[in-house]
Subunit: 399 residues, 2 copies
Amino acid sequence: MGFKYAKRMENIKASEIRELLKLTQRPEIISFAGGLPAPELFPVDDFRKVSDKVLAEKGRIALQYGPTEGYNPLREKIASRMTKVGVKADFNDILIISGSQQGLDFTGKIFLDKDDIVLCESPSYLGAINAFKAYQPKFIEVPTDDNGMKMNELEEIIINNDKIKFIYVIPDFQNPSGRTWSLERRKKLLELSEKYNIPIVEDNPYGELRYDGKIPPAIKGLDTKGNVIFLGTFSKIFSPGIRLGWVCASEEALNKYILVKQGADLQASTISQLQLNQYIEEYSLDEHVDKIKNIYRRRRDLMIDTMKKEFPQDVKFTIPEGGLFTWVELPEHVNTRELAKKAIDNNVAFVPGGSFYPNAGNENAFRLNYSNMDEERIVKGIKILAKVIEEALQCEKSM
Amino acid sequence: MGFKYAKRMENIKASEIRELLKLTQRPEIISFAGGLPAPELFPVDDFRKVSDKVLAEKGRIALQYGPTEGYNPLREKIASRMTKVGVKADFNDILIISGSQQGLDFTGKIFLDKDDIVLCESPSYLGAINAFKAYQPKFIEVPTDDNGMKMNELEEIIINNDKIKFIYVIPDFQNPSGRTWSLERRKKLLELSEKYNIPIVEDNPYGELRYDGKIPPAIKGLDTKGNVIFLGTFSKIFSPGIRLGWVCASEEALNKYILVKQGADLQASTISQLQLNQYIEEYSLDEHVDKIKNIYRRRRDLMIDTMKKEFPQDVKFTIPEGGLFTWVELPEHVNTRELAKKAIDNNVAFVPGGSFYPNAGNENAFRLNYSNMDEERIVKGIKILAKVIEEALQCEKSM
């Protein structure tokens, strides 16, 4: 025992969220920590019907190995669904994977040698940071504002650094900040990607969950040269428990993902693919998404309104147009890892912001999720949180 | 386009088996190529009942995120099932993964830096070779005979090489050779593992599918010091389409697998875990395995008997005591990649042996699977193959 592990293992740590989620399974905890969908919205009865039908009619296919690329009828449905975010795709452009998290891991595997550079938003999704870290890259965090990455700063960074392998972005209702990129920035990012031949990895888990205004085109939808690799998932619009997501990319890049999928786990679950395909055939996923949006919109409104009322004045937060998260910034001297402990003592959980910065620092923000708690708990939890924050601010002042 | 990919991508090629499998989907092909279970044996009706029950009673849990480690009731059942191969385990020793192929990928990720050394049997499972190759190791193939790796040669290799990170073995009904390790060799391997502190990765996808004699203890069952990492799967004893396998290892090593699972795809499918758990609770998986064994035993017997009758005398093949494969060796001058093309022209498919040697060479053997074809097709296919081989041998002689 005490084996010699690969050097990369020094970089891989338990995700703070997953560890927090364990705590938050205690029923008394009001959790704004995870990114969990509301389970009461899962289409359990409809899924039960289609599951039964698939096993009755295609049981032997459902339980057997299938092709690495995925089940073709589902690939077709995903391709045509991509028009919602402005992407014209064909089933051949789609690889079905086990949730979009797997697409992040594969992206690292395909592009990153040790010490290569990943450009990402600052802050960025901690699950992506952790997935990439296994391939020992360096991260450069690109400064962002309410419209996305700042383009002058981005170009400056590109000019001054070799070995940039890709630019990772979440343009819609970003995790953790809740912000959405403007159309202008999307176009400019694509322009820079083409100018410097650096692929864009567009992670879009929440794009369809827009509560106000119109869905802007995905960057992939503006892409005419195959520079964008798009990651999608059914986790937030259908169910995370079935573990189905997809990669949409042009042939050359997609072939790399297919090869890597083969070595990593051969294929996504055949039975889950057949069942989801059957669901989309028999029911309206659009209507289901509308149902989710109506509930989440109210939860977002309630959380934002309660924060406006209850939070001290020098606390800032984003007002997301969709997705699952809002991002709270406290005065710089407040450490939210400490604050999280006090909040948990008061039965409220959130994720401290520090983990969303790959190069550390920025300990004064935190992420709140509003999709998983009912309205009563949202109000109660935010009120408790307001008190915890107030105490922390006063405590700092009195010191 | 024409992105800069990671160097590892130069090593990752499409698995010959998966490419062959595409061809073999043509209904006229008699395929001995894949490692597919017989679909007519899948317990479709029983699984249909438990699936429905899970969605009726635990639908919201089944469709939600779950813990990375896996669903505890299923982890418990797997742990207690490990006694079948002589392993005493606790649910805490089990991580549920998406098929044991994922365990191979994780093993590479956890242990291998570039140019580290993997020891494996010669030949070895090509899916493992491909999974490890993504982490840029070197392979040393350890000579094997009918009882497993040759221990003097193994120790010699260990003494003469630094950077050996693990020893990868498939001790039961090895893929591709169909051979099974003797108890003596298992003990000796463990002894060397402890002496030189090199972990053993024991891949055991077929261990329960023994048609003659008694199941010997897994090497993990002899392991008192946590030196063995055991990979298991439900693909061959239940269904590959649900993509569920497991890692059984001691705490230190298992924690690495859990961390890597988190970054790779968060968790195995919640719904599949609940359904399989329910199946094991309500039905007898043992009885199901017995049913499979009875059919596969007859298919093996029939394939072996037909080969004895039909194959030319200078063709050798193994007689497996279980599992899915037999291994056919032709005179050294015969190239089985060429032979495979001729066989496909005659509507019979197999996997040429060359791919099972990570350092290439040895093109004169091939692997036959007997689990996926019915008895009539087995006899017909072997007869065709006998003719194709005969022609190849005569052709060589006449040249």
